[in-house]
Symmetry: C2
Subunit: 272 residues, 2 copies
């Protein structure tokens, strides 16, 4: 089975198998002169996770994964260009805990949340893209949820990778050199990208398995009681039906058009 | 089919049927002297939703539902006893937008998030309980997610009602005069209670159907792309297995013991 079939047909569980293999191989902990590396289960080392926060982000994109990360013995940095609180879709302001200049260089995870309005603005922000490109080059995992993958793409981090995004902008990914994949969580080497908004929980748990092993992640899933029962079968454009999907697109037409224009500019920039 | 079977066996979809009937009957909009009330679809009236915020709450308990509410043409009030920002499990501080004294009296929804540590403290806070009892008496819907139902119970709002909570404290509900139910979202008359943490999304969408009708709620589910694919089958104590569930309980033993003691005190108080 080639990688395309692998990551597409079996989704998250296969992705976990790929990621789990990397953990088992000791890639995560590294060998030391004293002998074989401790296993993740016996001496977990603190993880360094940087989560970008930016104006007009969708707070749930951040808090879903952040809740999982908070249970992983990780140091989570909420990073922005400066120390000013950023507004979010639900009105809660988020205080960055570090800035681009002060954020640790070596990260286990760099993460980007989404939110159509905020993503479109950030995609054209040189400071943001430079930060992501730099940390993305050295991070163990490069990740996003929702429209956040467009920011990763704009930073040049998805060229040659399979990735997904919120359903209504995922067709822009090829403009950034990525291959668009349709799945809840897409894993290609060290790039993990999730679908829209609520996919952050599935994404967080998938990454938790890679970072701390399956037993640990199972426990986390139980702590957050993730046993979903959506009241409607309308969570994707396919299951919701064309009428509903078209209505959603119609109501967001200006922002979707702006996202497309921004993606075209990224395409031109990456091609030069 | 009696109500017990109704709400237990078919879960959220049956709950929606019950709630939908109330909307269709015009209960939601009310008749006016000018003639039949407008339907929800033609002239939606702004909704007034008060979401309690309190120290050490689990932010995801709040933000899951709040994200849905933000798409319902609602005025959402984040209410606490005073205007001081409250700390949460993930470190983000939340600024209340109103206080107990200034919060509107007539609410469509009063909502309580959870978080074991925060709930235990709030359960013994007279000011909080008095506020909830007062608003709960007149609100159209009385709701919670996660351990938040213990706060509703402590305020006397669940006596004679079926309700749920986070799995590791739901057995305390009978001490507050409630009947413990095991389901993702439990609806009994105008009380909607959700399971732990991530159940806030299922809860939010269920309530959205009641407040704005099914078509609207379907659209919201699509906007937040709620098509979950949990990586593990460990979201409940039953599916995770006894070993995992016991480990989770063991690690939280002091707080769980404190919750039980607080619930016993509520029981004694409600009995007098």
């Amino acid at each position: 089975m080639n990688r395309r079939d692998f990551t597409r047909t079996v989704g998250a569980s296969a992705a976990l198998a790929v990621l789990g293999g990397r953990v088992a191989a000791g890639e995560a902990t590294g060998a030391t002169a004293q002998g074989p590396p401790p296993t993740e289960a016996t001496r977990p080392s603190p993880l360094a996770i940087a989560m970008l926060v930016h104006p007009d982000m969708v707070l749930l994109d951040l808090v879903g994964p952040q809740t999982v990360f908070s249970l992983l013995m990780a140091k989570v940095h909420l990073v922005w260009k400066d120390a000013e609180p950023v507004p979010t879709d639900v009105g809660i302001m988020v205080q960055p805990t570090t800035t681009f200049a002060e954020c640790p260089e070596q990260l286990d995870v760099v993460f980007v949340p989404g939110g159509l309005k905020g993503t479109v603005a950030a995609m054209e922000d040189r400071e943001v893209l430079d930060f992501l490109a730099r940390r993305g080059r050295s991070a163990r995992y490069v990740t996003s949820v929702c429209t956040g993958s467009l920011l990763l793409g704009a930073a040049g981090l998805l060229q040659g990778y399979r990735a997904t995004s919120h359903w209504y902008v995922r067709d822009l990914l090829p403009m950034m050199g990525a291959t668009m994949a349709v799945d809840r969580v897409v894993v290609d080497r060290n790039r993990l990208t999730g679908g829209g908004v609520t996919a952050g929980i599935d994404f967080g748990l998938t990454l938790a398995g890679a970072l701390r092993g399956e037993d640990y992640a199972r426990r986390v899933q139980l702590v957050i009681e993730y046993d979903p029962k959506p009241p409607y079968g309308s969570g994707t454009p396919e299951t919701a039906g064309a009428a509903v999907a078209d209505e959603v697109r119609r109501r967001r037409a200006p922002l979707l058009a702006a996202a497309k224009q921004a993606a075209l500019r990224v395409k031109a920039r990456l091609a030069t």
